[in-house]
Symmetry: C2
């Protein structure tokens, strides 16, 4: 059994020690990082969350402590009292490397078996092991630092929102299932057997009701839940920074959030972010980048050559346009010397996005190489090169297809080229924020045979497009906006409809009968009879934001106890079976 | 449809206006509190979350605005632009009563039907209506103020904890069911049909693991869940301030929390709280107050007269002691003139706590009135009076029973007397904090025929009592403490066991086989093999704390969207039935 720390108080943390403490008697407590026996002396590196300090034990310093020190092993928990001294051989790799502690007394507070993973930075262990022994994985200094940054980020957000008059108001976790959207996690009710709560996918309806209640400015850092099959960087439970404001329009929401982001990056990373951010309408983002979350750190923009090749000799191009599609390309600057194999690889790559193929024109020192040149007149070929601003050394890459396939495949190809040409990548520390605005209000769902809300059914159409809601719903633009950082959507929101009649028109456009709308959103529609203020807001994926702040590409690195790809926790073995009695009380049974 | 606020910006909030703004042109937005038509003038009181301001519309000010103003009704949402003027007839009841706004332009942003509840302070409407129209109930200024105080309290806690080096770390909501404790809310897993997550009753195990991970100081303001039948002031989901620290003993936890409470009451209410708080061992609290959460704002303490009456002539007293019980009483100072009816009522009252009756001795000006006097010698009677410090005018109230019944009934009687004598009550603003310490580690559960943990199975025994763990477990005191405010437990915690061998002894004392212990808490026991630090912590019921800060006795007043007594939400009608398809995906069915 470990020794008691009775009568003992820690006086300083390991990483706080420096030359300033020389001569002081201190007590530190922490974990053994390593022990080295050098005969007459035993050196122990002791670790706490602030850093590591070296302690030297010796027969001449204190015999009892020295003998005990010989028995300690990695990850033992020690309390050490001693005098701080300058080191004879300073260690420049350690922040505390100028000093060491003379170990004058030692208590072993706790012992440790050999841990199944190394407690060190940048460990390369299997994820399953890291998750099973998460408490040891979290001992690693790089993991600790990430959760410290997460704490700091949440604190800065709360400070900023509070200073700006926002109230953090907690909304329920046990709420009502609303089948629009992703799949809900359900919670059986014991009082009403056969009935269920749902865990919230977001506090959307509640935050709108809080505006109706006159709270004026609301925010919350809040857990949300989606029972979806997990892709990389998705977790079944995730955290959102949720914001809503009354008496505002798009500019107000954007202006507030730019200041929030600026403050966040300044206080957490000491990085200066210039505001305002660039804004780009959705259609422009699609046309120039093939994406509604473009990475604007580099060019390689899409070029529309449809009008140039409309009547050209290459049937693939001609047919694509004739059947309502489009022909567009990217000028891969300076890539004319890509080998055939590499170009084929890019061709395969765009096929995964639905493209049927990738046409190319390589402009090599006066000579033009292209498998499609033979189908084109010189005028047509020059027309393409001119439109795409092709210069010697460039490689023109072209896709002809339905417009959404062209966008998707060229948008992905652009990113692939960006990575290949090292325009983006782990060493690129640039931060480029962008607002994408004027999203379509609706998009046609072929499967359902109706329009569905692109953002959600409460999103306000742009005034200019209101009359199109009944005549040409697909063309209505919304007061919706996403905030994009380096090609990742980190947040999004909209101004909401606050008018019952307009809300009814919206439900009609979605193909809902009013009965169905009331069945699903009745309490919101009821509430909106009683003086709803104009309002709008935004929500950030907080985990994602913290990934940027910590420089990790793995969402599990910024969550203390994440789930694996099966939404399970190998450490606690959740989910697990439960007593039959529990199910009986809930009035449910398990299907065989 | 309401008018747009395009081109319009709010320049100030209603409640912020004062003489300082006279002559300024302002734009305010808010809800119509009331409208008064005085022929040539229309007065509108406009409300936002900061307060109310009067606006005057007139034909001579602006004809269009004046005509529109005649159409507005209560709870319409308006945007008004106009010049601030001194009022001819100031209203001293209104903070903005010195001024009014000349209504120079008016937009009706949103209309309202007549709301089903009045939007005013201290509404006396049925709870079911208030919950159904919660968004209107929350418009009432007193409700808004309570949630503003809640926001401020959470902010102060976070500021304080951050300044003191604590990291807020989020723990999972989808976790493992551990049948020890209250009933879990379960969440069926789709990936593993027949398996369930549980919503956390508290992050207890996770915060201990975070200490094991070396985070040193953790806190979280976190939602917790208990599926219990709801008594008054219980909610199925509630919020906890959860705190855990490493390398500490009882004094460290107490000292930190006293500073936290002091800061909280100072910043939220501008009230100075003296620290340190009084500390009282559990046994003393029981003996003096019959309660482990005594209200120490008044006396009326319990007095043990067992030794005085051990061999007296009154059989009820004698028998109680002979069968191992106790005889104790309260001296109700100055209550000798209580009528027979009132004393009978108190007798009935203690019976609800299991007492068989209430003996009494009234000391009226020289004369002693008591139905038990005839069974006692004068010496015995005087012995009782002397021990209970009875003076002329006092009423001595006595219970003889098993000790726990004596404590429960006299503890309750004491509070009842306190209320009756106005020693405590709504007008008493005194705040008396108390630490109750040295709780029993275990208590015997007659139903289960074994000891169960009084706090939880990870609570550290006091060093002095360690050897009793096997020989006399009921006498082992724990390093557990509750923080009590005016007779309500607002938080509690303990130093935890950090030694695997001691933990095994604890499980044995609880009658667990090691197999059972591993089955239930295996991952914690596994973790504790790898160098757990000494640690301990505390958790507050945040909702309860906010009840004190807002001066309400109803927990629903401090939660934006609470559940009713059936754990249901009349507003959203959660819980509700769900699509058969959802249940199929989860592999569960509903029992008929």
């Amino acid at each position: 059994m470990g020794e008691s720390m009775k009568g003992l108080k820690r006086t300083i943390m390991c990483g706080e020690l420096s030359e300033k403490n020389v001569g002081q008697k201190v007590t530190v407590m922490g974990w053994v990082q390593r022990r080295r026996d050098l005969g007459a002396l035993v050196f122990v590196d002791l670790r706490d969350r602030t850093g590591i300090v070296q302690i030297v034990f010796g027969e001449e310093i204190n015999r009892e402590a020295y003998e005990k020190a010989q028995t300690v092993r990695n990850e033992y928990v020690l309390a050490v009292t001693g005098t701080v001294m300058l080191r004879e051989a300073p260690n420049p790799d350690l922040p505390t490397g100028m000093i060491e502690i003379k170990g004058e007394s030692l208590r072993i507070l706790s012992e440790s078996e050999t841990p199944p993973i190394y407690i060190k930075e940048n460990l390369d262990a299997a994820e399953s092991i890291r998750l099973k022994y998460r408490y040891l994985d979290l001992r690693r200094p790089d993991m600790q630092k990430k959760l410290m940054i997460r704490h700091r980020a949440a604190k800065v957000v709360r400070d900023f929102m509070d200073e700006n008059g926002f109230l953090e108001i907690e909304t329920p976790m046990l709420t009502k299932s609303t089948p629009e959207g992703a799949r809900d996690y359900l919670v059986p009710s014991r009082k009403f057997p056969g009935n269920f709560y749902a865990l919230p996918q977001s506090p959307q309806l509640f935050k709108q009701l809080l505006m109706l209640s006159g709270f004026d400015k609301y925010f919350q850092i809040v857990r949300c839940f989606r029972d979806e099959d997990l892709r990389a960087n998705r977790q079944p439970e995730f955290t959102q920074i949720d914001i809503e404001m009354s008496f505002v329009d798009v500019d107000d929401v954007i202006e507030l959030n730019e200041r929030l982001i600026q403050r966040l990056f300044k206080e957490v990373l000491n990085v200066d972010i210039q505001i305002p951010f660039m804004r780009m309408p959705y259609q422009e983002a699609m046309d120039r980048y093939g994406s509604d979350k473009p990475d604007i750190r580099f060019g390689l923009e899409l070029v529309n050559i449809s009008d140039v090749v409309e009547n050209c000799g290459f049937k693939v191009f001609r047919d694509a346009i004739a059947s309502g599609g489009s022909v567009r390309g990217i000028n891969a600057k300076g890539c004319a010397d890509f080998g055939r194999k590499e170009i084929d690889r890019l061709g395969e790559y765009v096929k995964t996005y639905g493209a049927k193929g990738l046409a190319w024109i390589a402009l090599k020192g006066g000579e033009i190489k292209s498998p499609i040149a033979k189908f084109l007149t010189e005028e047509e070929l020059n027309g393409i090169i001119e439109r795409m601003e092709g210069k010697t050394g460039d490689l023109l890459l072209i896709v002809a297809d339905e417009l959404d396939v062209v966008y998707a495949s060229l948008g992905a190809l652009r990113l692939e080229l960006g990575r290949k040409l090292n325009l983006i990548g782990p060493d690129n520390k640039e931060l480029k924020f962008l607002w994408v605005t004027e999203f379509p209000l609706l998009e046609y769902d072929k499967e359902e045979g109706r329009y569905v809300a692109k953002h959600h059914p409460f999103t306000m159409p742009m005034e200019e497009d209101l009359e199109l809601l009944e005549t040409d719903p697909g063309r209505v633009r919304a007061k919706a906006y996403d905030i994009v950082l380096n090609g990742e959507e980190i947040g999004g929101g909209s101004i909401r409809i606050h008018d019952t009649k307009l809300q009814e028109r919206m439900f009609k456009a979605l193909g809902f009968t009013m009965e169905k709308a009331w069945e699903r959103f009745g309490f919101l529609l009821e509430a909106f009879k009683f003086g709803p203020p104009p309002h709008g807001g935004l929500a950030y994926g907080f985990d994602r934001l913290v990934m940027f702040l910590t420089g990790t590409e793995n969402i599990k690195d910024v969550i203390a106890f994440p789930k694996n790809q099966n939404a399970a926790d190998p450490m606690t073995s959740a989910p697990s079976d439960v007593d039959e009695k529990q199910l009986e009380e809930l009035g449910i049974c398990i299907k065989e």
